[in-house]
Subunit: 320 residues, 2 copies
């Protein structure tokens, strides 16, 4: 069976689709600006569950995942569209009101205008398609393909929280009476890194960028494949979400949450060493961590632990 | 229970959504051009059935419904995105290949570039979200709201074919060995009126326009509500798809297919009487029919038959 990545690469080639294969498509807008645009499909019981989440959280997350793609291009989000399909039994509840409330609160926070959408009936499950668009200076969108050997690799925020939150939910944790609300919120209502993405784009600081939706091991492999490079990164440098330690079992290694768990919606980006000084001036300390370096070992991602190196297989989330 | 139209109007007001409520949102592009954009959600067993259609037809129709919305703004379609969610059992078949083949054939026909999309797993049913964008001269997008009393009402093509095709499918007709292929194709693989839409936009010929997706009785009511007008139209003038007569029962009135059946994806537009001469010069005879007139009777749509008039209730398709 073809993986979704193989399928998309075949499609890309078969129909010569030049604009597919990054977090967003980049389209010319006017003489000074490019438009970036993305679409994300979210399906009940695959991407969210009604017994784990709330209508407001699902609305928030639907927009957040697309805004994260816009941020990963170094763009400022500007407008969005949302299609929602629900079965009649859900239409009769206040789900759709709560959904739009969560969606619109996040839209308002980042000045994103909802310009369109669709409402449809489904036989059984809720489906959502989220579309977001942003603007970036002409030719300055940060692609996955721009990393060069010697570039430093950075990530925003802390990693593994969303995967740990998911594990808690899978183990029956309920949000209302949980002591682990911050971890659950990383999974249920992620906050896209709009501001850092915009700064990186505006100041031309990153050579490549991707958002962490599938998991670092997969997403860094995507970036390396597009850039025709490799990467090494240092276990000790990975900013693991500290709250994971409060609940994980002794047998579990917190690094696995950070490397293989998806949906952190942090940004991973690469920076030419010459720009490190400017980067540190532009982004507040503590918001980003330097975790590794781009290498010339095409498509080989190495994880370095106590001076030992092992090849990291991409083990993040995939649908097929 | 709120209808989908009431729900969307409430949402519109609650969040002051200025750009929602037409076939497409209109967004500024550059100093000479506006971008129009639309999204349509299609769900298996609501909008299409696998035992009635083929993967290629479903791909074709997914793009066609959105291109029809672009045409209804008087715009030229330019690019598109497509999100597809399928259960694993479908992923293992050649469905997705056939789907993209049908989609890309239509995209190629109209010079539409596929720039993005998403592939996802679903638990059970296929879901598709189709996004299309077009360009139109700045300020010249043809809205639903521009009709004035005295304007003439026109429709493109013939009406009722898609509803008749649907009825045949519901009665067990199979495409492969059908004598009614043209009617079935009206339902399974509709052809959006891109060229006429573009001409109307470019030459500034229509005061208002909508595409016929829900059925004339509903769609004309939408246009009248947005324009704060009424309309009267003449039964004798409605271009009913002649092939309906080949199969309908004696008890059935073919006008019902034309008025209440949706999915013809023809265009309904209004024209100031002063521009009729220019209209007739610009669009080949036989491609459009004059069917009625806009009136000052706000939101009252009258159907005139043998000099009798009756108020037409909107009875087209709705999800909720």
């Amino acid at each position: 069976m073809l993986s979704e990545f193989q399928f998309l690469e075949n499609l890309h080639r078969k129909y010569s689709l030049q604009k597919i294969g990054d977090d967003c498509a980049v389209l010319p807008k006017d003489s000074k600006t490019d438009l970036v645009i993305t679409t994300d499909l979210l399906v009940e019981d695959i991407d969210f569950r009604l017994d784990w989440s709330t209508a407001k959280f699902i609305g928030h997350k639907s927009l957040a995942v697309s805004l994260s793609d816009v941020a990963a291009m170094g763009a400022k989000p500007v407008w969005s569209m949302i299609s929602v399909g629900v079965p009649e039994k859900i239409w009769r509840t206040d789900f759709v009101d709560g959904f739009y409330e969560g969606y619109m609160n996040l839209a308002k926070k980042f000045g994103v205008e909802l310009v369109g959408g669709d409402v449809s009936k489904t036989p059984d499950k809720i489906v959502i398609d989220s579309i977001a668009a942003g603007e970036v200076k002409k030719g300055k969108a940060i692609l996955r393909s721009g990393a060069k050997p010697g570039d430093f690799i950075f990530v925003t925020g802390n990693l593994g929280g969303a995967a740990a939150g998911l594990k808690l939910l899978e183990n029956g944790e309920k949000f209302e009476n949980s002591e682990h609300k911050p971890l659950l919120l990383r999974q249920l209502a992620p906050n896209p890194q709009i501001e850092i993405g915009r700064i990186l784009g505006e100041k031309n600081l990153a050579t490549a960028m991707i958002d962490l939706s599938d998991g670092v091991s997969s997403d860094l492999a995507h970036l390396c494949r597009k850039s025709r490079t490799g990467a090494k990164f240092f276990r000790d440098k990975i900013p693991i979400e500290s709250k994971i330690l409060d609940f994980k079992s002794a047998a579990e290694d917190e690094i696995v949450f950070a490397l293989e768990g998806g949906e952190d919606f942090e940004l991973l980006f690469t920076v030419n060493p010459k720009k490190i000084f400017q980067l540190e001036k532009s982004i507040e300390k503590g918001q980003i961590s330097r975790v590794g370096e781009i290498t010339a070992n095409t498509e080989i991602v190495e994880l370095i632990t106590d001076k030992q190196s092992r090849i990291l297989e991409p083990k993040g989330f995939r649908h097929f």
